[in-house]
Amino acid sequence: MPVISFDAVTKVYPLPAGDVVALAGIDLAIEKGEFVLIMGPSGSGKSTLLNIMGSLDVPTSGEVTIAGKRISGMDDDELTLLRRDHIGFVFQQFNLIPLLSVVENVEYPLILKGRQNRSRERAEEVLAAVGIAETHFTHKPGELSGGQQQRVAIARALVNDPDFLLCDEPTGNLDTKTGTAIMDLLDRMNREEGKTVAMVTHDPRMTEYADRTIRLVDGRVVE
């Protein structure tokens, strides 16, 4: 069974000037263990697709199944729990919580789940796996470099052992060398840990990491 499946999914934003069709009948399936890129020009519907994959948004019509759960009819709490328990988000701007230390940022999703005991150990374990030195664990995110912050963000996404990672231009704010290191990390997580990765990007060089690429134009999948 695919981790993510879209069946005739449309998304329409009603605006005073007329409806905007962001997605116009998308069918797709991402299988467990796949590394899939989502590419397309601006306004092609990438962000909308990503938001629906991340259960941050729901389709206007069609059926979306995430981790075996149909999201139509879910209320806000159910969608939130779906994100918490099945999806790991990696953002372009890292989006770490400035109030929390590095290790607390990673621990946070475990605490949301109510796993208070051993949560610190688990967070430290995942941080070590993404290559963060122990001396940085108690630092605040702002004290780390961009590449290190993105590693922490990946650790946070992985800590709950999600069904897939949803990455939104994860190297967009990094220099080439650091970006490559982050891609190598995601690649390693995909190959060695079998993590499913869905990634939105503009960068054509990323295709070398991916099993396949979904291209969007005007809200449709073109290949």
Binding site: N51, G54, L56, D57, D76, D77, T80, L81, R83, R84, D85, F89, F91, N95, L96, I97, P98, L99, L100, E104, E107, Y108, P109, I111, L112, R156, N160
Partner: protein, 381 residues
């Protein structure tokens, strides 16, 4: 790490802003508690000044009866109307008294010698006999006249007669009937022959069972005022009730003023929290997107308001003791009133109201934060 920790850290992050918001709560709590304590102390002061417990009726000539005196016969009539309850008629005047070679003026009360023990308590000495020339002096008169030699056993000249002080009264406080603390009290027989007078100013009726007060009052009025108003019967309980109601109104009014300052503090918390929500829209978006529920976001912000409120209320509560002490010591001149359970309750009430105001002010910002759309919040810069 918990939501409470997050809230605490956010309060610390903008410590100056938090301190100012807390200051508002502190001022509000101190205002409510202090003004409450003050109102309560005024009530207590009334209570201490007034000795009557509400078991007393005061019968005086009706204002339109053409006389200011009660006759012996009227007193007998009243005595018959009140059954087994006790009637104490008295007369009073102001006269010059001389002790040794010192002259001064004093209030003089006269009542039947056998009634004295039921109305007045002797601190030292004894009650005068009906036939002799003994008198009692009030506690304050005794205290103020030590250098004059006016004390137990001293001789007091009133007019051309000399009385011996046979007893000094206990302090009685202010009453609706008589105020003997600054007075000389003589037996009525002496008074009657000295001033050549056989009428009374008023009569005090002591009712044995406070519950009977209305029926006793009624039977006096029925007996005496059948054709026209001859006497006026005053019920001390009603007066007391209206005095205490007035004291309560003062307390409510004062606390209302305090509440206004606390509401202002609440508005400042609302403002601080709304600022905090606006600044953290992106952060809220991140928290929501990685799986934080609306209720959890809301809890985080309410904890912030709670921290501001509890810290403010705690500081305010401690300071209220200081200001309460000053207020009771300076205005009502008795700092003991601060430690009256009623006064302490106002401090607790002020603190509780402070916490409540903070949390209530935090509700809207917290709700607003929880309602943010995670997609839009994430995009917020």
């Amino acid at each position: 790490m918990t939501f409470f920790d997050l809230a605490r850290r956010n309060v610390n992050r903008h410590w100056l802003r938090s301190v100012l918001a807390i200051l508002g709560i502190v001022i509000g709590v101190v205002a409510i508690a202090t003004l409450g304590v003050m109102g309560n102390s005024i009530g207590l002061m009334f209570n201490d000044m007034v000795t009557d417990v509400g078991d007393t009726l005061i019968v005086s000539p009706a204002s339109d009866s053409g006389t200011t005196k009660l006759t012996e016969r009227q007193v007998d009539d009243i005595a018959r109307a009140i059954g087994s309850n006790r009637i104490i008629p008295y007369a009073s005047t102001v006269d010059k008294i001389t002790v040794g070679d010192k002259e001064s003026g004093a209030m003089i009360y006269a009542m039947p010698a056998e009634d004295l023990p039921s109305l007045l308590e002797v601190e030292s000495g004894a009650y005068p006999k009906g036939t002799g020339a003994g008198c009692l002096i009030g506690s304050e008169l005794a205290a103020n006249s030590k250098e004059n030699g006016l004390k137990l056993g001293a001789r007091v000249r009133i007019g051309d007669e000399t009385l011996r002080v046979v007893g000094v009264l206990k302090e009685r406080g202010m009453g609706f009937d008589i105020n003997p603390d600054y007075a000389v009290i003589v037996p009525y027989t002496w008074y009657s022959s000295h001033y050549d007078e056989d009428e009374y100013d008023q009569a005090i009726v002591k009712v044995k069972d406070v519950n009977d007060i209305d029926s006793v009052k009624e039977s006096i009025e029925q007996k005496m005022n059948r054709r026209e108003d001859v006497v006026n019967v005053m019920d001390t309980r009603t007066i007391l009730e209206s005095i205490f109601a007035a004291a309560d109104s003062i307390t409510v009014f004062l606390m209302g003023i305090g509440a206004v300052s606390l509401i202002v503090a609440g508005v400042s918390i609302l403002n601080v929290m709304l600022m905090s929500v606006t600044e953290r829209i992106k952060e809220i978006g991140v928290l929501r997107s990685i799986g934080t529920r609306r209720s959890e976001v809301m809890r985080m912000f309410i904890y912030e308001a709670l921290i501001l409120g509890v810290v403010g209320a705690a500081i305010g509560g401690v300071l209220s003791f200081g200001t309460g002490y000053v207020i009771t010591a300076v205005i009502v001149e008795n700092a003991d009133y601060l430690f009256n359970p009623g006064s302490l309750l106002y401090i607790v009430f002020g603190m509780a109201f402070g916490v409540f105001t903070s949390v209530a002010s935090g509700l809207y910002p917290a709700w607003k934060a929880a309602q943010l759309n995670p997609i839009q919040a994430l995009r917020h810069e």
